[in-house]
Assembly symmetry: D2
Homo-oligomer: 354 residues x 4
């Protein structure tokens, strides 16, 4: 399948080599080794402040445990209705938070708007034990729709949240793609805009398995070691994650990987935009492109050996969604996507008559 | 520190190389790739029957999720009072089972006896909603004390458990060490003796991160995919675990690693047994040696540059425990332990006067 | 406050007297007494089949535990977006189900439509571990909006649910009000229409504290005793609930209470409908009336000593909602509501100029 | 069955009458009524300080929710190995605390000793994420064995607990019986000895259903309203509990009830002590008597129409336990126990030859 997911890529050579090199010799277990310490220090450098970093096994674990740390009994977490935490994590956030509730909010092209958030927030009064209580808001940067939050919007949402005593969480499964799309620094995109805790994902962008929860105020994470261990997410040979992160950050490897993925996505998007038999569902900003294709176009592509991932149409924001006889298609690029693949796809798409 | 833990070793060269080789090219995510399929097939071969295999991130996750799959509301899990699940997993089994209770049972040298189990079981009547209900028994093979269950005892315990409708779980974090200690086959040590589900650990014995839950009757695991995903333990790039397992099993690599570790432990044990200033707490059978040293002996060892891991003395079974002026010490070997390390240790210990 | 809630009423005289009479003499604890057995038998008579009945302390507990019994790991429960379980239970359903997710669905006047349910259901594919899995649908009869489901709609929703292997739950906190509104039998309104398990509430309609979970197929409830006890909802002196239920059912006391409450609500509704300064948000069918009043009208009512409960306007279905300068008001009647209260209210409302 | 349980008694006349009187008229729901306010004020008077009081449905709920409020992720609660929370609550404490672990400690006649507690505490180091962390200690006053803690021991245990940052919980299901056994004030028995939170039970001693969680420092309970509501333990018609408590406290009704029960138990104990065919397992101090009877004696009693509750013999502390040919028997008295019943029992027992 073409451009099925950035999870289909293995590890980058640089990451794989670093991991291979890290194996020799003994080192203390459970994160008390020098490689883990060095990786943690790199996070603080990258974010320009002392942060607390905790590795976990998956992005789902990072999201669910980060949110659990911010969600007391009866707590409510606000998010976009198509957020990964809302539709792709098998209730992990609800489970780890002891039954916290997700409050999904619709918004254009995967983006939660400050207005939408304010409206949803207003429906949950303070001090009403029946309703539960507001706990956190979670923003995906980049979003599941391939779009990227304007930092001013993040800051407005964070202000609203902090005004109600809530925690602001960022799901950074594709954080590098968002960074290079905007040219912002990691600090600008997160804590300077009001983000309190983030899920920092490196798996989709070159690692085998490298996910971390980052608390920008380390004291907020003081309980996290227990949440993580109780969840079975404390690796014994922690350095196998740390070594991947060190390679990932080294020499801007992560940003280069993301730039490549975004550039490939941009070429795909341009191809769709220009094609008579397809159109963009919305303009992509990172490494995911959502196109709307006629059924006939998909048949022709398939006949040409190009199968693509049809996406449930309900995920498309209203007016931009597919019409009858059309399908929504998701195309995801990664550090591994080749120019040849993209060229072949664009070429075939351009040949299909409307 | 000498012989601190088998978690201090990195990955074996064979495993590290296999992992490095597995990185190139795309493959479906979430376990739908060929490498994962091949690794799963290897498990079935090794166990001589069709088994269901689910990778998870850690041994704690494997134990907690395997037990959760067997523990309904109010369920009670019996285990040795020094089992890893009882003292080293931060309540993960209780958490994932929705508050299941562990019923710890004392027993000599880390071993749960059929008699001890029968006695504990008799205290929990069937159909008494107040007390809760019996759900599972968990056996560590090899144990946390470096001993190995006699399969006849496993079978007796399993018979008692099955007679009450319970599930038999084996914590196989050091399964390979137990296998080579006894010469049994994987099938003989598990399902042929009545084990229903096991935690299969490869991390301590040569891998970076390779843990699996194995259901010997695949239908018992039908709910497990949801338990695992909800726990954030479904890896997206599943082949990074699968590749490790394939190398681990290849050419009896796992058994060789375990044989080496056990042999090193046997030499350490022989040295302690012969030394005037120390004695064995009990006779080790796998890769963990528990010795009792005088305080003076530990001082001299430390002066010679050999620091060892003092173990909480309560973990020692009654009459064999340390006396005043003595300490219990745990020494763990791995595939990485060198003959030189062992020789130096044994030599220094032999020199200390009683 | 006028017509604040049916929870403001105490116990009816008949119920209070029966409870007082039940106190003397010893009886086995935890539901093994004759009064509890008699009450359970009455449930089976009323529903015209053998049912399994479990008392719990509150309607929230009944809903949450009933749903927990039907919701496995990663399970999703569909309900109206204004259902009590969705907005008034502090995440109890999510908590007791180990993090199950509620999938709220909008619908007119508190009613989930078969079409709305079908659409929501279609978004959750079978066998997709990421999304979770469909588990149950919950219908409130009567609804939080004072409306009553057409049994044909219940049956259509139940068919859709059963077609996906789901459980159909009815929240019957105001079940008696729905019964007398339609003239149906308890059997017709529940299991004959496809309901599998219900929360049977008597507290709002004359009891102090009498709530039960009823399984129409008793085998479905086989695990429930453990769920209930683990939740702290097994009363030791069970007969104090049973005695209330016996009085409640005796001589159609429950239906008479409900008829009175509904009749009072109908008079209030007629008064609002006729008043120039107010209108009905939608036509009520049971004991809750939602009216839309001008701000001026509310001021005049308040000046006349009549304060009413303003309801969050978001709860109103779109086009019927309050405009600027208007408020949504909820008025709830009970067995205790007097004709004088109603007359005074209707009279005052009728006097206010538009 | 004779003296089966104090849960077999209904409500006292005084309590039943007060409840009947409280039913008329409207009152705000969910604890915002005057009766609830008055009852809460009575608690503060009785304990001679401002306390926070929360009603719940059962003693199990009181214990589990009180402990949940004190138990973070990976938290461990210490208790006697025969405590109600350990053997009679179907894992409710584990469930509500998100998988907290109970650490049972043996001790003579149902009593946790400061020495036993200190020893158990020493096995759980601070800051060891693997083991979990100490959270609370729970003491039953009176105990399940009918004994009563010396307040000096409570204070020593509380000092140890507070020295580790733990919460001290008292299970007061039979608090009144302990009070009258010692002549202490409620304050002396609780917060003056270091108790932080208690389960205050009135159900066993004259009420239908009246259980409360009492925080001696109200700020500790600030999260409790959410824990309670999420658990389905917030009664809508709260005054039905409050009215019972008001009658319970009125005119020392609760102490009189307890005095009667204790006196009846003392007479039973004296009878057993004097009988040739039976002996006391240990000396009772409240309303539970544990006797050891020969099998022959139990047969003769049964032939005389007196059946008693055989208790699992493991519950007896070692040396005092039943020998072969003997059984442990539990006899519980209540406010309802009559002198005639006691006389008949004592008389029959005295007639049995050794």
């Amino acid at each position: 399948m073409f451009f099925a997911s950035d999870n289909w890529a293995g590890a980058s050579e640089k990451v794989a080599e670093a991991l291979a090199a890290a194996g020799a010799g003994p080192a203390p277990a459970y994160g008390n080794d020098e490689v883990t310490t060095a990786a943690a220090a790199r996070f603080s450098e990258i974010f320009e402040r002392d942060v607390a970093v905790y590795f976990v096994a998956t992005g789902t674990a990072a999201n669910a445990l980060a949110l659990a740390s911010a969600t007391p009994a009866g707590g409510i977490v606000f998010c976009h209705s198509e957020a990964h935490i809302a539709v792709d994590e098998c209730c992990a956030p609800e489970f780890f938070s002891g039954g916290g509730k997700l409050n999904p909010i619709a918004g254009p092209a995967g983006l939660l708007t400050p207005e939408g958030f304010a409206e949803a927030l207003a429906k949950v009064p303070d001090g009403d034990v029946h309703h539960g209580r507001v706990a956190a808001v979670s923003l995906s940067q980049a979003t599941e729709a391939g779009t990227v939050y304007d930092t001013a919007d993040v800051a407005r949402i964070a202000d609203l949240a902090h005004g109600r005593g809530m925690t602001v969480h960022m799901d950074g499964a594709r954080f590098a793609n968002a960074l290079v799309a905007t040219g912002q620094t990691p600090a600008e995109m997160t804590w300077k805009a009001g983000v309190d805790v983030m899920s920092f994902g490196a798996t989709k962008n070159g690692c085998w398995c490298a996910e971390a929860v980052v608390f920008f105020d380390p004291t907020r994470g003081s309980d996290f070691p227990y949440l993580r261990k109780r969840a079975g997410h404390l690796f014994s040979k922690s350095r196998f994650v740390a070594a991947q992160f060190l390679a990932y950050f080294d020499d801007d490897h992560w940003l280069e990987n993301a730039r490549h993925a975004n550039a490939m996505a941009a070429r795909i998007a341009a191809g769709i935009d220009a094609a008579p038999a397809a159109r963009l569902a919305w303009r992509p900003q990172s490494n995911e492109v959502f196109g709307i294709f006629t059924d006939e176009a998909l048949s022709q592509l398939s006949a040409a050996g190009i199968d693509v991932h049809q996406w449930p149409s309900h995920a498309a924001p209203g007016s931009d969604g597919p019409n009858a006889g059309e399908k929504l298609v998701r195309l995801v690029t990664s550090f591994r996507t080749t120019e040849d693949e993209v060229s072949r796809f664009v070429s075939e798409v351009s040949l299909i008559a409307a």
